[in-house]
């Protein structure tokens, strides 16, 4: 255990390589076990769709109304 520790902590490069190796190993193992795909939690917030969609319509409508009023 102590030899491993002194080997890893020998200098900044041995430490960096060790940390990155553990990092990659954990990610690849987890990926292989869970069959990782790009995964995104769906979240729904009706407001944004509503805001964007309705805003365009609303502006068009009100422009048409104004044009009609002027005629």
């Amino acid at each position: 255990m102590n030899t491993i520790k002194s080997l890893v902590l020998r200098n900044r490069y041995t430490l960096l390589v060790t940390v990155l190796a553990v990092y990659v190993l954990v990610l690849v193992l987890e990926g292989a076990i869970t069959g990782r795909e790009v995964r995104v939690i769906d979240f729904d917030n009706p407001f944004f769709d509503l805001i964007v969609r309705n805003f365009e319509e609303f502006m068009d409508d009100s422009r048409q109304n104004r044009d009609a009023d002027q005629l």
Partner: protein
């Protein structure tokens, strides 16, 4: 852990704020008036009739909504602040364990009875909870002025957008949601936080080049060695803001207690442990 040991965090965090006040305080303080003036300028450039339509649209949108329901709409106004906060957070994390080694003040910091673990944890708390707090404080002022301005605009067009008290409450709720989002985002992006800190502690110069370069290299290496792209997939999953933007209080639990979040925290902890150990190589 005794009381003094916990109290040390106060002095440590105060140091971070003083050292990086440009990133945490000046940046949002400059952004707020510029953003507000831009809004006023755009409103003035618009055709008065179009502006009137927009105001009535807002009024219609807000009609019958409670402040909590209104809050997400206000969060849109916070987006520029979030972008600046994100950029400043990246700069901070890259610089924070690098700068003091470069100007050799690290010898002073390290001559104080503060462990490397405590130093690194302070940085994470600062970027995840303290910096967002300052941004939210500035954003609060920004919302306040904006709500008053909207009300005045409404009055000048003979439209009541919403009760000014209602809008104000909605603004406060949106600040709360944004603050919680910032904390959830820090947890969700803990691997990125750890990565930046690791290279901030490692690099003798240009920490950004190291952090970015090694990241890309490892991606290629995985593909080359194992023929897999788990790393790339994982990064793509992480990058989506939907994962940490909290739009309603009910989301908080689900966002924190799910497998991906917890796995990310484990990976982040590996990199953060690396940064803590790396801190012993200061010369």
């Amino acid at each position: 852990m005794d009381k003094f040991s916990l109290l040390q965090y106060r002095a440590l965090i105060r140091r971070e704020i003083l050292e990086h006040r440009n990133l945490f305080i000046l940046a949002p303080t400059f952004l707020a008036p510029i953003l507000f003036m831009a809004m006023v300028w755009i409103a003035n450039q618009l055709d008065p009739d179009d502006l009137g339509s927009m105001i009535s649209y807002l009024a219609m949108l807000f009609n019958g909504l409670s402040p909590v329901e209104m809050a997400p709409i206000f969060m849109l106004g916070g987006i520029p602040f979030i972008i600046v906060l994100f950029s400043c957070a990246i700069v901070y994390l890259l610089v924070t364990l690098y700068q003091d080694r470069k100007d050799s003040s690290v010898l002073f910091w390290q001559s104080m009875p503060v462990s490397n673990l405590k130093t690194v944890l302070t940085k994470i708390v600062t970027v995840g909870a303290i910096a967002p707090f300052f941004y939210m404080a500035v954003l609060f002022g920004f919302y306040l002025v904006t709500v008053i301005w909207l009300s005045i605009l409404g009055v000048s067009h003979d439209i009541e957008i919403a009760g000014i008290g209602y809008m104000f409450m909605a603004a406060v709720v949106s600040l709360l949601l944004l603050y919680i989002s910032a904390i959830v985002a820090t947890l969700w992006l803990l691997p990125s936080v750890g990565w930046l800190l690791l290279f901030s502690a490692f690099a003798r110069r240009t920490p950004l080049m190291w952090a970015a370069g090694v990241f890309i290299m490892i991606g290629f290496l995985e593909d080359f060695l194992f023929g897999t792209q788990f790393l790339a997939n994982w990064v793509e999953s992480r990058a989506n803001p939907n994962q940490y933007l909290i739009m309603s209080f009910g989301d908080v639990f689900d966002r924190i207690f799910n497998y991906d979040m917890l796995f990310g925290i484990v990976v982040g902890a590996i990199l953060i442990a690396g940064a803590v150990l790396m801190r012993r190589f200061i010369d």
